[in-house]
């Protein structure tokens, strides 16, 4: 008997395309919740991150802290902004993330997005994404300047000089813009945004159970198709 005939077929992983930014507290929280949902569902997945800039006009060397930034943009008192940030910090803690808004350095993220494309080309995008989010929200590291980004990439084993070359040349700027154009085609206005199997759209930092339910639903739909 052919031994292979007794082995159940390995299901094709479900593709999850995720649009997100680095400077996006709900994107990191949503990432953790998706990871929990993936564990709960047991459904195999393949993840690809796509670029979305929430604040493309922010200068790389933004002056001021996150509390003042939020207060001025929302037209609210700084104390109210602090309360809001305190709430999101608590929610982050509930999924094991330790946001440090006192240390956080608000900045422009277009170079960080280019670095994610650089890493994707080398099969390491997920590691780079996690490293950038942790650096920004938990470690107060700067994720807007080329040399700071190169340091983070080098920590993962990338060639620091080559990263600097790529970022200074805007080697992957066109890839960032293409991601943004696709987001516009899908009508994506907020992030995180998740597209399952290029067919189903899920917006926001959903609960892990919701992600698990979505994954099971998408897997079941594949069987029916």
């Amino acid at each position: 008997m052919h031994r292979g005939s007794l082995t159940p077929p390995v299901p094709e992983p479900i593709k999850i395309d995720i649009w997100s930014d680095i400077a996006c507290p709900w994107c990191y929280i949503g990432k953790r919740k998706l990871e929990l949902g993936m564990e709960q569902s047991g459904v195999p997945v393949e993840i690809e991150y796509h670029s979305f800039e929430l604040s493309p006009d922010t200068p790389v060397d933004f002056q001021g802290d996150e509390f003042e930034f939020l207060a001025s943009h929302k037209g609210i008192p700084v104390d109210t902004a602090k309360q809001m940030i305190s709430r999101v910090t608590d929610i982050a803690e509930s999924v094991g993330l330790h946001y440090d808004y006192d240390a956080l350095q608000h900045t422009n993220t277009v170079k960080a997005h280019q670095l994610l494309h650089y890493a994707k080309l080398r099969g390491r995008q997920l590691e780079m994404k996690e490293r950038l989010l942790r650096a920004y929200f938990e470690e107060g590291r700067h994720v807007g300047r080329v040399r700071d980004l190169a340091d983070l990439a080098a920590e993962l084993g990338f060639d620091r000089d080559d990263v600097i070359r790529s970022l200074e040349a805007d080697e992957h700027l066109a890839d960032v813009r293409e991601d943004q154009a696709v987001a516009q085609e899908f009508g994506i206005q907020g992030v995180p945004f998740f597209v399952f199997d290029r067919k189903y759209g899920v917006s926001g930092a959903q609960d892990a159970a919701t992600f698990a339910e979505v994954l099971k639903q998408v897997a079941a739909d594949r069987v029916k198709a």
């Binding site: 709900w26 949503g30 999101v88 009508g187 907020g190 189903y200 759209g201 959903q206 992600f211």
Partner: protein
């Protein structure tokens, strides 16, 4: 979202604009847990 079938909780929080809105938890109580099945029908 155009061309995609929406799934999940419609009120899950997103960042959409220059700042990420951080709503009160109470604000999210309405219309939560929209049935996945009913949305998919």
């Amino acid at each position: 979202m155009s061309g995609l079938i929406p799934l999940g909780d419609r009120n899950a929080v997103v960042c959409d604009g220059e700042v990420c809105d951080i709503p009160n938890q109470e604000d999210r109580s309405i219309d939560r847990n929209v049935s996945l099945q009913s949305r998919h029908r």
